[in-house]
Structure formats: structure tokens, C-alpha cells
């Protein structure tokens, strides 16, 4: 049955797995919801993989699908039912081990609106304004103005935390 999983798909997912975890980290506070949404992302990626035809980078496509899933999964995640621990849960990254700087940054990002969180995430990933505009559906000018404001907001937050 394990043959049902395309090895190309699996290799691409494993090479870009950080994308799913980063998005989950930015949108969901508690580890159970985070794990739930990462699993949902894997499922949606698997379902949509046949429509991926290499016109864009795999990582860009994965960002799109994962963001779509995270942004429309918020209501469902709150209703997530507890399930028994399995060995799979051992793979959940340990949040507490995140450094202070990274925690401050994640805390700062969590104060932003949902759309602005997506923008800053894509920016931190090193995407150009053009790529961010293409993934989100905003105009390039709008991305630029929003990121300018986000930058000010985040820097002010981090400064306050450092004082």
C-alpha cells in the first residue's frame, strides 16, 4: 500500500517540509492544532500534486497550498478532537527549544493580521515582491507598502521586548 505514495512527491515534500511547519507555527498557537493543520496540509498537497506541472518552483506551489489550507482551516482546528498519542507525535518539533530571538519574532508576527502574517512569512523566506504578489494575489505595489508597514510594526515590537 505504501507504493501508493509517489516517491517524487515524498522527496519534494521532505525537502520542503519546513514550509508546512513554519506556516503552522505562524498561524496556530497550540501544538495539537499545529500538528493537525500540518497533517491537513500533507493531505491537501497529496490531493493537488497531480496538478503541479513544474511551471513554478515546487516550494512556491507548496506555499500556496499550505497557506490556503492554514487560512481556511482556522475554524476547523478549534474543533479538533483529542486523539491518542502515537509514535508519529514524537516527530512534532519541540517549540520550547526555539531560541529567545525566534520566540520574540514569532510573538511579533502573531500580533499581525492573517494576511500580513502570510506576507511577512513569504518575505522572511526570501521571496521577491513579485513572487509574493503572485502567491497572494495582491499587487506588487500593495505588497511593498504592506511590507514597509509590517517592518515598522515588527521592529517596534522587538524593540519594546528588548527594553
Amino acid at each position: 500500500m505504501a507504493n501508493d505514495i509517489d516517491s517524487t512527491f515524498l522527496n519534494l515534500i521532505n525537502a520542503n517540509l519546513g514550509i508546512a511547519h513554519k506556516i503552522a507555527r505562524v498561524y496556530f498557537d497550540d501544538p495539537v492544532s499545529r500538528e493537525d493543520v500540518v497533517q491537513e496540509m500533507m493531505y491537501q498537497l497529496w490531493r493537488s500534486f497531480k496538478s503541479f506541472d513544474n511551471r513554478s518552483k515546487f516550494s512556491t506551489w507548496m506555499y500556496r497550498v499550505c497557506l490556503n489550507t492554514a487560512l481556511t482551516n482556522f475554524a476547523k482546528a478549534k474543533r479538533a478532537q483529542p486523539e491518542p498519542l502515537t509514535t508519529y507525535h514524537q516527530n512534532i518539533p519541540d517549540v520550547e527549544s526555539t531560541s529567545d530571538d525566534m520566540n520574540t519574532l514569532l510573538e511579533a508576527i502573531s500580533t499581525l493580521s492573517k494576511l500580513n502574517r502570510a506576507l511577512v512569512l513569504l518575505y522572511l523566506e526570501g521571496m521577491s515582491y513579485d513572487e509574493i504578489a503572485s502567491v497572494t494575489g495582491l499587487s506588487q505595489g500593495n505588497v511593498s507598502v504592506r511590507l514597509f508597514r509590517i517592518r515598522k510594526e515588527l521592529e517596534a515590537f522587538v524593540k519594546r521586548q528588548n527594553q
Partner: protein, 206 residues
């Protein structure tokens, strides 16, 4: 760490990934999600299907039992005819909603997907609201009249106040059940999607 560029460097150095998936792990995750989605879809499907079956069985029974009484048979047929298009459209639109994917289409953006998701959900909700607006009062009226015609000596005309009270109570309980279902399954998710789209629409932020 003061500037966004410094944050970007920290971000790049930080390891976010969990353990890689092997084929068995991935297959287990996919099976779990398929089961979860099927369970959620089927919950709605079976609830709706069971209601339709009950309604059709009840009206069919009435038609067979009171075949000699044209008024009763007419009421029962009207009841069946009310539900047939609703059942068909409900299941068709529900399928549309259930198969919606987060779009692997490489040319579509997050904004397009959220718009699509919102439109499909809104379309289903609007259909449900409109249909319920006249289906529930009409089917309640038909049901109440049938109950009084079959079980109350003298029929509905002899107990008009009783008919109105029964109808009122039935409508009130239907209203409460539908209102709660709509709030949980439609109004809240739609409000959240609308908020997101409003944020996207703030183009004049420039």
C-alpha cells in the same frame, strides 16, 4: 535582533522542520485525513439522507393507507414533491462544497482560492436559506394538516387553533435547530472568510 533583515537571517538559520516522512508515515497521515473528511461529509449526508427517507416513507405510507381519500393523498404527494428538488439540489451543492481543493493550480493565488471557497460556501448557504424559507413552513403546514386530518376526529377545520399552535411550536423548534446549525456551519466560517477577503481588498492602502 532589531531590523527585519536581521530577523530574516535568523529565520533562515532556524530549523523549522519536523522529521521527514517515509512512505508508511505519509500513507498513514493520508488515510487518517481521508477517514476524517469522509466522516465529516458523511455525517451531514446521513443526517440529511435519514431525514429524506423518513419523510418519503411517511408520505408513502399515508398514500398507500389512505388511497381512497383524495384530499389526504394530495397532501402527501405535495409533501413528497416539496422535498424531491430540495434533496437533489442539497446533495449536488454539498458535493461541490465537499470536493473543493486548496487549488494546486499554479496560476491561482491564495486570494483566488479564498474567494472561490467563500463563493461556494455562500452559494450553498444562500440556496439552503432560500429553500428553507419556504420548504419548512410549507412542509410543516402539510404535516400538521395531515396529522389533524388522519388522527383528530373532525379534521383540521374543527380545531383551527390547535392547528396554528402545533404549527407554531413545530416552526419554532425548526427555527432554533436551523439557526444553531447555520451559525456554526455557515455564518461563522463565512464571516471569517469575508474578513480575510476584506483585508485583501484594501488595495488603497498604498
Amino acid at each position: 535582533m532589531d531590523t527585519l533583515d536581521e530577523m530574516k537571517e535568523k529565520w533562515a538559520r532556524h530549523k523549522h522542520a519536523g522529521q521527514p516522512y517515509d512512505p508508511n508515515n505519509m500513507l498513514r497521515v493520508i488515510r487518517q485525513r481521508v477517514r476524517k473528511h469522509t466522516r465529516e461529509s458523511m455525517k451531514y449526508f446521513w443526517a440529511s439522507f435519514a431525514l429524506q427517507l423518513l419523510v418519503y416513507a411517511l408520505y408513502a405510507h399515508v398514500v398507500v393507507r389512505f388511497l381512497h381519500d383524495p384530499v389526504t393523498v394530495t397532501f402527501a404527494i405535495v409533501g413528497v414533491l416539496l422535498f424531491i428538488p430540495f434533496t437533489y439540489m442539497l446533495l449536488r451543492k454539498f458535493k461541490q462544497l465537499a470536493v473543493l481543493r486548496p487549488d494546486g493550480n499554479e496560476t491561482s493565488s491564495v486570494r483566488q482560492y479564498i474567494t472561490q471557497q467563500r463563493n461556494v460556501l455562500y452559494d450553498f448557504f444562500r440556496f439552503k436559506l432560500r429553500y428553507e424559507l419556504w420548504l419548512i413552513p410549507l412542509s410543516t403546514l402539510v404535516g400538521t394538516l395531515l396529522v389533524f386530518k388522519i388522527y383528530v376526529p373532525g379534521g383540521p377545520l374543527a380545531y383551527l387553533n390547535g392547528v396554528w399552535i402545533t404549527m407554531g411550536l413545530t416552526l419554532a423548534s425548526c427555527y432554533l435547530a436551523i439557526r444553531n446549525e447555520n451559525r456554526k456551519s455557515f455564518r461563522k466560517p463565512l464571516a471569517e472568510l469575508d474578513n480575510l477577503l476584506r483585508e485583501f481588498a484594501e488595495e488603497n492602502i498604498e
